[in-house]
Point group: none
Chain length 203, copies 4
Amino acid sequence: MPRVSEEHLERRRRQILEAARTCFIRKGIHATSMQDIFTEAGLSAGAVYRYFKSKNEIIEANIATVIGDLRTFFTALADGDPLLPVDEVVERLASHVVALSGENGPLRLAPQAWALAMHDPEIAAYVADNVTDLRDTWTLYIRRLVGAGLLPAETDVVAAGKTLFALFPGFLIQRLLLKDFGPEDMRRGLKALTRESMLTLTA
Amino acid sequence: MPRVSEEHLERRRRQILEAARTCFIRKGIHATSMQDIFTEAGLSAGAVYRYFKSKNEIIEANIATVIGDLRTFFTALADGDPLLPVDEVVERLASHVVALSGENGPLRLAPQAWALAMHDPEIAAYVADNVTDLRDTWTLYIRRLVGAGLLPAETDVVAAGKTLFALFPGFLIQRLLLKDFGPEDMRRGLKALTRESMLTLTA
Amino acid sequence: MPRVSEEHLERRRRQILEAARTCFIRKGIHATSMQDIFTEAGLSAGAVYRYFKSKNEIIEANIATVIGDLRTFFTALADGDPLLPVDEVVERLASHVVALSGENGPLRLAPQAWALAMHDPEIAAYVADNVTDLRDTWTLYIRRLVGAGLLPAETDVVAAGKTLFALFPGFLIQRLLLKDFGPEDMRRGLKALTRESMLTLTA
Amino acid sequence: MPRVSEEHLERRRRQILEAARTCFIRKGIHATSMQDIFTEAGLSAGAVYRYFKSKNEIIEANIATVIGDLRTFFTALADGDPLLPVDEVVERLASHVVALSGENGPLRLAPQAWALAMHDPEIAAYVADNVTDLRDTWTLYIRRLVGAGLLPAETDVVAAGKTLFALFPGFLIQRLLLKDFGPEDMRRGLKALTRESMLTLTA
DNA sequence: CATGAATGAGATTTCATTCAT
DNA sequence: AATGAATGAAATCTCATTCAT
């Protein structure tokens, strides 16, 4: 019997992960039994356990795919040319979030990932890593705005980065739960709020 | 010990709910067994099941307390006098979020609530209800700003409300996971971003 | 506080037994919880346990009422004047069985009593006692027929008694389960079968 | 040990059913715990639940075997050649009942089946089906007697069939409970009762 | 006499995982 | 490499019974 190719192994892994994701999205991670995954993947218990040594490993591997190419996409957006205005960047990123959270989109697992991160250190590390990376990208982008003279030099770019990042979990939740909030809405909302007059109240 | 006062019954319910919350926060909802709750509450299985007829009922009852008095607090803030500037309101609300998500704070359950809402209609309805209420309060507040002439009449107050609300899930996640984001940071970040210059890039 | 009268005690016992019987007939003995009985009787747990010291005692006391006044009735029938023909006696007894197995009739518990008798010695003894008594009454009746010259002197009256008794469990089961067998049917069936010609086949 | 033959699966099912029957007969259906069945079958919980998805399914499957080959046996008896006299048929059927109700005989479950049939529709249907079939076979047999001129043409064959069937539950109960009634006794009893003189009393 | 909150053993069932074939 | 039967710990929930009030 010939050694099975690396490629074959990788294909099997992906097959299992996708079956698992489908189940996780459909029923929730905890409500998904290994049997559900076997069935969805069309594989036997033994086969699946050859590629992953526990359910937790499948969960972790899946969560590692949650934000998909969001990081790459966003880096290109924030770092590329030309330098875009905030509302534009926000809308484009939101659009990507929407794309990744449709039907079988991996971002649908994000809330479950956050919940698990509260108690599973492995997952916590992974989520923290992603959050950090996305925030840093925002920070970078804002630094560019400062560099371009569009924001004052004393701007707290880190705080601003965290704040801009903060918008997206809330955007996703509203999308998944209420389905009445879109990228253009958020852009419009953001533009409306970008009025210095709003800060002038306190003496 | 029969013929017990209403008050006693209510106390027992609360005792159980609090024990459950402690467990849920400590180990996660799914990893908490009924036995964990019995032990934490110092009650027997039968006693607990006299007050709640299933684990799910305990979960739901607990989730109903997640945002605690956040709604009331925020309504007073947004609706009260004097009319405060956005950054002020955001910081104060964030501070309350911090208060409610400390040690044994109910808001610590929020991520788990979001995750459950994806598959449990009962919980979904509850979460949606809260989200809607908080967004509406933001909308109301922004309308006041418009009324005060601080924002133009044509402002999309609903979109702005959704956008401001969106900040908070992301704020909470960063707090719970990375612990490096505080109310004042978000206020500063917000102020930094409230610069019309940021929108002027596109020709 | 005045001593409660014997009569009161007896009334309470009967109240509980009847409530229990209603439940037992409605849901089956095993599916009936003590709580069901409390509710049906409109009494508290403590109250019921003052009169019966276990569920089993309630079951046994109830089973002791299963055949109701069937023994008395039958004795009068078999022993009284005039001496009636078999088919007549069978029909009358069957009619009484029907009466006792209607709506809330105690005989509805008979199949459950038989089943329990297989493993509960107490109940076994009680059921055996009743069976024996009824069979004996049949034997007595048949002896009268012999005495009257209607059956030969060498008739095995005991075997005949057991055989006649045997008809009734089957009668009851058919009534309760298929509802298509009445006292007159059995009388007609019996008459049809009382033909010596049926025995002449074997050479 | 995967990839097991159909035959193996069938053997396992039977093994479980038989273990269950042993328990049911020994302790009664309700007093038998799943653990009892696991132990008796020498299997683990999971193994048993692979073959039956609930205790109720095991009960029902067992009850479906209660009368064993009684139907087949009786049909051959009633329908075969030569045409036998009633007392002969009754005795032979009773003998078969005895055979099926010894030691571990399935008919020992009959009283429990009757009791369950009072509240479980599935079981009720099964029992009704068997009762109906046996009665029909009796009817068929009596029709043959009529055809042979041994009974008058106007004989109510259906009523006679129900009546003859009625003998057997009572026979079984006396056997299981008092152990003093055998097939030959019932034959003798029946013969004694097959005297037209018994009907002549009423004027 | 009566109440009904509390007990806690025990019942059924599920499910991640293993390993002989 | 793949199968899937088997394991058995653990989870949720019920219920007869007690006893402080």
